[in-house]
């Protein structure tokens, strides 16, 4: 414990970063638990809002395709959920 505290004093940035990362991890676990553990089942008749057009993953597939095409041609990494289409000479 004591030696740990000493080393912390000698190089303050590394353990601080670890601590911060740990805090983020805990927050993430808490978030997942809020979503998964304590989730109340949503009944079939309670899904009216989830069925809305603006709640889809891609409400406008044409717009989404054009956006992805623009980003794909400019950036070094790409990828989205779903089967990819064909390539182009743009990248």
């Amino acid at each position: 414990m004591r030696s740990n505290a000493k080393s912390r004093r000698s190089s303050p940035s590394q353990p601080l970063r670890t601590k911060r990362a740990l805090r983020w991890l805990l927050a993430l676990i808490a978030l997942v638990c809020l979503g998964g553990c304590a989730m109340q089942a949503v009944q079939p008749w309670q899904r009216g809002r989830l069925a809305r057009w603006d709640m889809r993953w891609d409400p406008d597939p044409l717009q989404a395709a054009m956006n992805q095409h623009a980003y794909f041609s400019k950036e070094g990494t790409s990828g989205e959920i779903g089967a990819a289409g064909g390539g182009c000479g743009c990248n």
Binding site: R52, M66, A70, I81
Partner: protein, 388 residues
């Protein structure tokens, strides 16, 4: 594609668990509509010193989409795209005074065209066990791409849906003026992709999805038109013949009262060329009165540089080297706005996006080796007709 025994068991178990309960009435594919979009893309002048023809790169795109139910519980989707591209593009980079990079631009290319089509057939659209098969073809004067894809979604419980799929594409490159410029005359590359995702109904107003996408490319992955400056001589852009990439994606949708929805998307990606990237996207769908809808959005992207990227190289470098700015470190911030109006069966839309790239936006900060990056502005307009 025959599912494995354990997968069949899982499917049977999930069917028993849920009956025929669609996890989410996501009826995207079962509608009948046609859509048309016009998109103008224009790049800014380069953000760094450059030489050569400074004609800015422009693309005019048109998209057409037909989505229609066919036969017994199938939906057909046909998507056609035509693009006209013109302007000059980055060619190679030379060291200037104090070794500061100077981007040399290619002479303005004559107008080039791209035509592409995708046909997709979805079985049991809007139902429980959805299967989609797709085929795509894209053609340019010097580039041909053929792709096949398959994906499936099935519910694991009343709140959880599994999605998985894969695709394969074969691309052929035949650069023009190959002999004149000593370019490769013909080359090919293959891309295989697989993905799996889980989507979860969190509560009555929100859903989340987490997925992993893996891509593997092999073949000629260089850019035949680009050169690199290696100790005073110009050599062709040379990249490894293989590239693996993995991306982790998380998407979140939340209905905020009855008139708005929040969309959040994130992506973390890394590839075998040493690049990793972060993407964050947020949009707000605001429904207004009389069929109007306003959709503002923001996007942030940051990538690190590939192992073999540098603006220019010293003697003895290689075997791989590239000065393509897309392999360098940079960040980009974008804002976009879309306005829609529904009039009976018709839906009009118009919008714009401003994409600003800068080496200063990179996570971890900028360095002297950073490339000259490209920013752009897009404007788009469209018209959709819904049959019911």
């Amino acid at each position: 594609m025959r599912p494995s025994p354990s997968l069949s068991l899982l499917i049977a178990a999930s069917a028993a668990l849920t009956g025929t309960n669609a996890v989410r009435a996501d009826e995207t594919a079962s509608e009948q509509y046609v859509g048309y979009r016009f998109n103008i893309y224009g790049e800014d002048a380069l953000s760094a010193p450059s030489l050569g023809d400074p004609r800015r790169y422009e693309v005019y795109s048109q998209q057409f989409l037909l989505n229609s139910p066919v036969g017994d519980r199938n939906t057909l989707s046909v998507n056609a795209t035509h693009e006209v591209m013109s302007g000059s593009s980055p060619w190679y980079v030379i060291p200037g005074p104090d070794n500061r990079p100077i981007q040399v631009l290619s002479g303005a290319t004559i107008r080039d065209h791209r035509s592409a089509a995708t046909v997709a057939l979805t079985h049991d659209a809007g139902g429980n066990d959805t299967r989609t098969f797709s085929a795509s073809y894209s053609q340019e004067r010097d580039y041909h791409s053929t792709a096949l894809g398959a994906e499936r979604t099935l519910p694991l419980s009343s709140a959880l849906t599994l999605g998985f799929g894969g695709s394969f594409s074969h691309d052929r490159i035949e650069p023009f003026a190959a002999v004149l410029y000593d370019r490769i005359q013909r080359a090919e590359k293959n891309t295989a992709s697989a993905f799996a995702s889980l989507s979860l109904v969190l509560d009555r107003v929100s859903v989340a999805e987490s997925g992993v996408q893996i891509d593997y490319q092999s073949g000629y992955l260089s850019d035949p038109y680009k050169l690199v400056f290696v100790d005073g001589t110009l050599d062709p852009d040379t990249r490894p013949h293989r590239r693996g990439e993995i991306a982790w994606l998380v998407r979140y949708r939340r209905a905020v009262n009855d008139s708005a929805a929040l969309h959040l998307d994130t992506r973390l990606a890394a590839n075998s060329w040493g690049q990793h990237s972060l993407t964050l996207e947020a949009s707000w769908y605001q429904n207004l009165r009389d069929g109007w809808q306003l959709v503002p959005g923001v996007r942030y992207y940051s990538q690190s540089r590939a192992r073999f990227y540098a603006p220019f190289f010293a003697a003895g470098s290689g075997p791989d080297f590239s000065s393509d700015y897309r392999l360098g470190a940079f960040g980009a911030a974008a804002v976009n706005l879309n306005l829609r109006k529904r009039i009976g069966h018709w839906e009009l839309s118009a919008g714009a996006e401003r994409y600003h790239a800068s080496t200063g936006y990179t996570i971890g900060g900028a360095s002297a080796a950073d490339p000259a990056v490209v920013s752009y502005t897009r404007v788009f307009a469209g018209l959709d007709y819904h049959f019911d």
